[in-house]
Each structure stands twice: as structure tokens, then as C-alpha cells.
Amino acid sequence: MSMLPVGLMAETGEVTAEEGGGTGPNRGRSTTLRRVTTAMLASPAAMLSALFIVLIVLVAIAAPLLVKLSGWDPFQYDDTAINADLGGLPNLPWGGVSAEHWFGVEPQSGRDVFARIVYGARVSLSIAFSAAAITTVVGVVLGMLAGFLGGWVDQVISRIMDFLMAFPSLIFMIALLSALPAGNRPVLLVVVLCIFGWPYTARVIRGQTMSLAQREFVEAAQASGASKSAIVFKEILPNLTGTIIVLVTLAVPSYIGTEAALSFLGVGVVPPTPSWGQMIATAVPWYATDPMFFFVPGLFLFLTVLSFTVFGDHLSRAIDTGETSK
């Protein structure tokens, strides 16, 4: 699984593979919810990461407003903040951090880094969330179909999954993105992430559906004459909720990371639209002369991915403990 720089994709498979059993019949759901919430509230790490996630999401939503507050939009040049004699380096030390430009300015153009980070959050998060939503729907539907129906349906779906997962996906994503006409980059990124992302959800869901299909309550529903679709949507799906939530929280950071890597490599979001990975790429020639400019987008990328991962980790553990102690 070398598709991602850090192989986060493999993580989604790994964490939930431990999960095995499923949540059992859905009558105990409100207590499960309460138990998981209590466990999450008790963990400082989970709470800190949740706090950061909320903060970043709010920042992304309120980007236009925040930019009005700070006074600079992400595309606006500021010649007074940079020194043309020094090759366009910021006038002030620390990347030009000041009351005027909160996170400093971009060398050469003088564009406001705070505004670009805030708008970058918008781009990065909306790509990651859309990809996570689509892969989850596709993965859950196909995974349930394969796991529940078995036979040739399972064969076809499983072979496609094997094929996609045995693919040098990073190279392929890059090749695909570079061959595609410029068009709407964020949408293309979502499409490419989805093509290679859904099998990781589907594989887990398929396994869980197969084990759930053996349980008594499914048998009972079958015996009482419930239709196949009723069994899948009313009996099996509700019991997959926990798994799905965990899969989503772990898919989001992996998509944020992949989008950043693709943008870093120059095949993702195209300037002037900012994205964190692309900001890091822009800062590469400056990393020695203006480290702050390089450091800020990297820090945001790191903290965001870390928060989602920590949160997802704790969530999966909280849901897990309930099952084993039952």
C-alpha cells in the first residue's frame, strides 16, 4: 500500500479489521452512543483533536469573513511587505509576521499567508470530505452487496477491488491527473481519489456483512419473510453504523494527505487557488531563506491530519471496547 506518502489508506483497513463482530442487534444503540460519548469525553487527546477539527472546519466555512477581518484576500499582492532588493523576501523577520499580516507574506508577491491558509483549508477540506462521502456510500453499498449476496456478484466486486488495490495508485493518479485537461481541478481530484479509495471501505464492509449475515437476528428476519433489501437496509446497515463512522473519520485524513501530496507534486489544485500541499510546494525554493513561509502550511496540514487520525483511533477503540466487554 504505497499509494500515499504515509500509507494512511492501509490504516483504514487495519483498524477496522480488529473490529470483527459488529454491533449486534440495534436495540442497545442509545446506550452504545452514550458509552462511546462518555469514553471520548474522558480522553483529553480525543477532545483536543475534536476541538482542532471543529476549529478548522469553522475556519474553512467562515473563510470569507475571516479574510475581511484580517484585511487581505488570498489573491491580493502587497508590494510594501516585500523587499525587491532581496529577491522579494519579506521585509520583516519571521516571514513577515506582523499585525498587518498575521502569518506573514508570500515572498515575491506579498500575498497574505493567513488568507491563503484559511482558503486552503476550504479547498483541502471540501475535497477530502466530498471524497470521503462518495467513497463511503459507494464502498458501503458495494461491500454490502458483495458480502450479502455472495456468488458471482461477490466475485465481480471482489476482483475489481483486488485489481484497484494491486495498482501502483500514486503513479496512476498522477498520470491520470496530468493527462486530464485542466478543467475543474478540485472535482477531478475528488473523482481520482474516489476511484482508488472506495475498495478500502468496501473490503471492510464486505467482511462485516458476511459475519452479520450469519447472526440470529438476520435469520429471524429471513424466517419472518422479510425481503432481501429489507434485511440489508433494516437489519444489517444499522449494525454497521459504528464501523462506517470510524471508516469515515480515518478516510478524511488520508484524503487530505493524498490531496496535499498530489498538489505538492503539481498535479493537484492549480494556482492561484491555494491548497496546503501546493503552498508547501511553492515554499520549497524558499525553505532555507524564509523557513516560516514553508513551515506554516506544513504545520496546519500536520495538525489537521493528526487530529483526524487521533480522533478516529479513539473512536474505533471506544466502539470496540463495548463489543468485547459485552
Binding site: 499509494m3 506518502p5 504515509v6 500509507g7 498522477i174 498520470a175 485524513p253 494527505g257 505538492f264 491530519v305
Partner: protein, 331 residues
């Protein structure tokens, strides 16, 4: 076992053809006309037609694809008459940019990518697996917490980012290490080691984090199993229980993952090589992509797919010797 292998190899060949078809189709359908690109600014319509004919891109899609496939198995000839260019099997075509044979280009850069992959793999296996085992045995200890925290940052930090931070600190500021490069081993082993150590570590950090987490999780599962409890009850020392009983079942999933990851890396550590400017297959790929050099991208994609698929088969065969439960099913 033989029939199993033959079946797997046939399936692998099928997948490879599919990968080739898909990649070829993407470039056929989506890319700008290569003839226009090669021809450059001083170009006449006649000249474009001529290049098209030489490249064979005036043919319909399936004809082109089969010529390409045929070239891999039997070699092919570009153009005809005087200016014809022979390309012996396995022919992956010629770079649009440099006119070099794609196969030669890959072969030239392969040693660098192999050096990077092998060095990083040794590091991440040693560090990742041992950290995971110790964390599992001392679950909840300070070591465990610290190691898992490091592992979490390892999977959350983009490696191109830490690569440059590390380069700034170690090379630019402290000047402990030289800028990463790809010298030959023979001339100056110490310099060779110093030049490669940063790419190895950066690459290994991400993987080691992942492996440590996975090893720990597997190990904790295994330690809770009945056969481990039995072994303990028999009075075996905890070291012996670990070595004889717990280690093997915990490590088999790691073997699968390692096979895939290592095979993937042989296709070039794209990001690491690009960031450090190391002239391996990965850097060649990213250069080819930025210049839209289709034959090179095509060749690398196919080669990378070949590595991953062969790696997969090797891992599955190894599995049968590592895990007795699978052995009976296959044989």
C-alpha cells in the same frame, strides 16, 4: 502448488494487460497530440503527419495498443525505409523528450531506486517491528505511550515536509550531513552512506510508524489467544512464549504488507526522490509527468504494476510456508 502458481501467473498477466490497456487508453483519449509536441514551434502540417505515421498514432486505438503490446514481446520498428528505427523486445518505446529508449532509461535509474528502497526497508522493518513488539509486551507503559505518539506523528506528517525540515536543520544549519545525492558505493563508502541516510530515514519514518502500529495491534491480539495462555500455563518463560508462539502469527500480516510496500517502492520513491533531487525511477517519473512524456509514464506505470503484482504472488507463496493454516488450502 504448481497449478496454483500457474493460475496466479496467468491472472497476473491478465491484470497487467488490463493496466496497460487502461493507461494507454487514458493517454490516447485525454492527452494532447504527441506529434504536435515533438514537432515544436517550427512545424508544418506535413511534418506533423510524418511524425504521426512514424509513431503510429495515426492508427485506430486498438491497432496502436496491440502494436505497443507486440513491441513488448517481439520488438517493433518505428517508421519504414531509410529512417526506420529498430526497437528490440521488450520494447517500451522512446522518450519524446530525449529520444532515449524507455527501457534503458529505467534500467539506468533502477540502481538508485533499489538502493533507496532496500536501505529504507531495513530501517523500517527493524525499527517498526521491534517498537511494535516492545509496545505490545509493555502495553500502557511510558515506552508504549511515547512510541505510539511518535508513530502517530509519523503517519500524520507529510514526508516531503519533514524531508525539507530535516535538510534545513542537518545540512543547511548544522552542516552535519552533505546534501543527499547518489554517489557510487565503491569510491567512498562513508560519503555514500551520508548521502543516502536522509532519504532512507525519511522514507522509513512513515512506514515504520505504520508497521509499529500494526505489529502492536496484532501482537496484543495474539497475546490474548488461548494457545499463548496455554504456553504460559505450561510454565514457559515469557521470552520463550514470545519467540516460539506469539511472534509468528503476529508477523504474518506484516509480511503481506511488506511485500506490497517494498514492491511499490521499487517502482520509485516518487516523492522522496523528487524532494531530494535523487535521480531514480521516481524522479524520472515526476519529470516525465511534468513534460507529458507519455512513453516514459506508460513504461513506469507498467513496470510498477509488474513489481506490485509479482510481489503479491511472492508474498502469497511465502504465506503458505509461514502460516500452516493456509498451507493445506493451497496444496
Amino acid at each position: 502448488m504448481i497449478t496454483y502458481l500457474v493460475r496466479r501467473l496467468l491472472a497476473a498477466a491478465g491484470v497487467l494487460v488490463l493496466v496497460a490497456l487502461l493507461t494507454y487508453w487514458i493517454f490516447f483519449a485525454l492527452s494532447p497530440d504527441p506529434a504536435v509536441m515533438i514537432c515544436g514551434k517550427t512545424c508544418t502540417p506535413d511534418r506533423i503527419d510524418q511524425i504521426r505515421a512514424t509513431l503510429g498514432v495515426d492508427q485506430p486505438f486498438m491497432t496502436q495498443f496491440f502494436t505497443f503490446l507486440g513491441g513488448i514481446f517481439m520488438g517493433r520498428t518505428y517508421g519504414s525505409g531509410e529512417g526506420a528505427i529498430e526497437c528490440a523486445a521488450p520494447c517500451l518505446g522512446f522518450s519524446f523528450q530525449t529520444n532515449q529508449s524507455v527501457l534503458d532509461m529505467i534500467a539506468e535509474r533502477m540502481p538508485v531506486s533499489i538502493t533507496i528502497a532496500v536501505g529504507a526497508a531495513i530501517l523500517w522493518l527493524l525499527i517498526g517491528v521491534s517498537a511494535g513488539v516492545i509496545s505490545a509486551v509493555k502495553q500502557g507503559s511510558w515506552w508504549d505511550k511515547a512510541a505510539m505518539m511518535v508513530a502517530l506523528s509519523g503517519i500524520s506528517l507529510p514526508n516531503y515536509f519533514i524531508a525539507l525540515v530535516l535538510q534545513y536543520v542537518l545540512v543547511v544549519e548544522l552542516q552535519i550531513l552533505p546534501f543527499p545525492s547518489t554517489p557510487a558505493f565503491g569510491e567512498d563508502p562513508l560519503f555514500w552512506f551520508q548521502s543516502y541516510i536522509m532519504p532512507w530515514s525519511i522514507l522509513a519514518f512513515g512506514y515504520a510508524s505504520l508497521y509499529a502500529r500494526l505489529t502492536r495491534a496484532n501482537m496484543i491480539d495474539t497475546l490474548g489467544e488461548n494457545f499463548v495462555r496455554t504456553a504460559r500455563a505450561k510454565g514457559l518463560s515469557s521470552m520463550l512464549v514470545l519467540r516460539r508462539h506469539a511472534l509468528r502469527p503476529s508477523l504474518t500480516p506484516i509480511v503481506t504488507m511488506f511485500g506490497m510496500d517494498f514492491a511499490g517502492l521499487l517502482g520509485g520513491a516518487l516523492i522522496t526522490e523528487t524532494v531530494f533531487g535523487l535521480n531514480g525511477v521516481g524522479k524520472m517519473t515526476s519529470d516525465a509527468i511534468s513534460k507529458n512524456d507519455q512513453p516514459v509514464i506508460m513504461g513506469v506505470t507498467l513496470m510498477a504494476a509488474l513489481f506490485v503484482i509479482v510481489g503479491n504472488i511472492i508474498v502469497d507463496v511465502l504465506y503458505t510456508t509461514l502460516d500452516p493454516r493456509v498451507r493445506t488450502k493451497v496444496a
